[in-house]
Amino acid sequence: MALLDINKLTKNFGGLVALNNFDLHLEQGALVGLIGPNGAGKTTVFNLLSGFYQPSGGEIIFDGKNLKGKHPHQITKMGMARTFQNIRLFGNLSVLDNVKIAYQSVVNYGLLPAFLRIPPFSRREEQIEKAALNFLEIFDLRKYAGEKARNLPYGEQRRLEITRALATNPRLLLLDEPAAGMNPQETHELLSLVRRIRDEFKLTIILIEHDMSLVMGLCERVLVLDYGSLIAEGSPKEIQQNPRVIEAYLGDEEVAVWEE
């Protein structure tokens, strides 16, 4: 059974069609790239998947369940996690607390144990702390555990955001332009990080990215959106040579000349 089935997904904002009849079927363990010019509707796909938008048409079946009417926090519990184009950390909280919050949907306890500090409060808190520190260790962020998240260097903030998303124990991970604003060195590190998490956590990943070297180096399959419609789908090589993709990115020379 496919992990994700998107059928004829459509989103309108008033008269603007942000996404039009978008189809995507993902098997467990796939790593696909979603590319396209600015405003093509890539982030709209993520916002629909994670429940921040409700579709105008079509359906999303995740892990056998329809996501219609589900809130973002419910979708997270079902096993989907995402990062954001503009980093959204809990800036004034410690790096450790940023990861601890992810356990909200995995390990938790009632209000009464919290107020009175009775079991299972201490046991669960220890469990959460141990797991969070372990995650920080894996991603080389342990040394920052007590630091406020906003004081981290840019590249580390990105890594923390991914770490935090993974701590929610997802099966599908949505990465929205993880390499945005990174230098080539950081991008290279990110490349190996994404590969590593897919292999170690057996994740299915959808990646939105503008950095072509990253997309071409990572993804087995690439989808190209333009003006809300899927215009091409295939291996990175096929995509690079597809005339419609080149046109979407560089503009059609003849039309441009004619319009002048």
């Binding site: 994670s50 429940g51 921040f52 809130h71 973002p72 926090h73 997270t76 519990k77 996690a81 995402r82 954001f84 959204r88 950390l89 809990f90 800036g91 004034n92 909280l93 607390d97 601890k100 919050i101 992810a102 356990y103 909200q104 949907s105 995995v106 938790n108 306890y109 209000l111 919290a114 107020f115 009175l116 500090r117 409060f121 669960r124 808190e125 959460i128 935090r164 998303a165 929610t168």
Partner: protein, 323 residues
């Protein structure tokens, strides 16, 4: 080993017991004048109000101005239980807190979808509605107020209420539920993606804050014996807001210090009430301009802080390094 594990709690308990005894002796020995006893009780009530408002405005990042309303709900419910129904004081506490909590749910559910200014206006409206409605209910005495409430509030009652309220808020904030509230404040979109039900936590913080404001109201009613709706005006909310802002949004220690400082200040300014509001306004503006994070920012003063200070001082004395 066990002693070491609980050493912090034991130290705090001993310090609190000592403080309690000293003040109790001062009151029964007549060393603290009646005027200052009143202000001491007010200080306690204000600490509960400031800390609970801070839970909503500082820790969860919602901007509520309805605290006087919740306090009024608690005060009048408590007053009805003891004065009109003749039931014992503990029942009044339970009923007052419950009524304020229910009011919190009723106000919170629809309004917490609003953000920032809109929430402030909606909760402000709630406070005014409570006041005006109470003025028009004859059962609670209308505008002249509810009278004959037994004066059962004493130093032990105030002290225990303050300690338990602060402990409750502290435990809440330092739990996974409190972390969820902080996450809502920091970034509500990311919080949702971490599995936090943001509506639930906004309402929860609001309700806990309201219930504690209700407790403050019950204490207030059972100290003064007469309560009038007009006492629970927006000015009261404003007083509490200044305490929270001066102490620091997101710092419990700050709320305690803010409440103590401003209660003392207003005690000295009792003779010139006009100037008192001017001073409050100036304080609020000064805090916003010069120290927007308040006296304490988001920091807390704990035993660790004192140990650190101790270390610094002994270090200074030993090595004469001023850094």
């Amino acid at each position: 080993m066990i002693l070491k594990k609980y050493s912090t709690s034991i130290t705090i308990c001993l310090a609190l017991a000592l403080f309690f005894t000293i003040v109790q002796l001062g009151i029964s020995g007549g060393l603290i004048s009646g005027y200052w006893v009143t202000n001491l009780y007010l200080m306690g009530i204000n600490i509960i109000l400031a800390a609970s408002l801070n839970l909503i405005n500082g820790f969860t990042g919602e901007f509520s101005l309805g605290h006087a309303g919740f306090m009024a709900v608690g005060a009048f419910t408590g007053g009805i239980v003891t004065a009109n129904l003749g039931l014992p004081f503990p029942l009044a506490v339970a009923a007052g807190m419950l009524a304020a909590a229910i009011a919190g749910v009723i106000v919170g559910l629809p309004t917490l979808r609003l953000r920032g200014d809109y929430l402030a206006i909606a909760t402000l409206g709630f406070g005014e509605i409570v006041r005006v409605v109470l003025m028009n209910i004859d059962y609670v005495g209308g505008a002249s107020g509810l009278m004959g409430i037994p004066e059962v509030v004493s130093w032990p009652v105030i002290f225990i209420s303050v300690v338990l309220s602060l402990l409750l808020i502290r435990n809440f904030i330092c739990s996974s539920h409190g972390r969820a509230c902080l996450a809502v404040r920091e970034n509500d979109v990311a919080a949702q993606m971490m599995g936090v039900n943001i509506t639930y936590y906004k309402v929860l913080a609001f309700v806990i804050g309201a219930a504690l404001a209700g407790l403050a109201g019950v204490l207030y009613a059972h100290y003064y014996s007469i309560i009038q709706p007009k006492e629970f005006s927006f000015m009261l909310t404003f007083d509490v807001l200044v305490m929270v802002m001066v102490g620091g949004l997101g710092s419990l220690t700050g709320s305690v210090v803010g409440a103590v400082l401003l209660t003392i200040a207003s005690a000295f300014l009792q003779a010139i009430p006009e100037l008192r509001m001017v001073l409050y306004a100036v304080l609020l503006i000064a805090a916003a301009v010069f120290r927007p994070q308040g006296l304490f920012g988001e920091k807390e003063v704990t035993l660790q802080t004192f140990k650190r200070w101790g270390g610094v001082f002994s270090g200074l004395a030993g090595h004469k390094q001023a850094d």
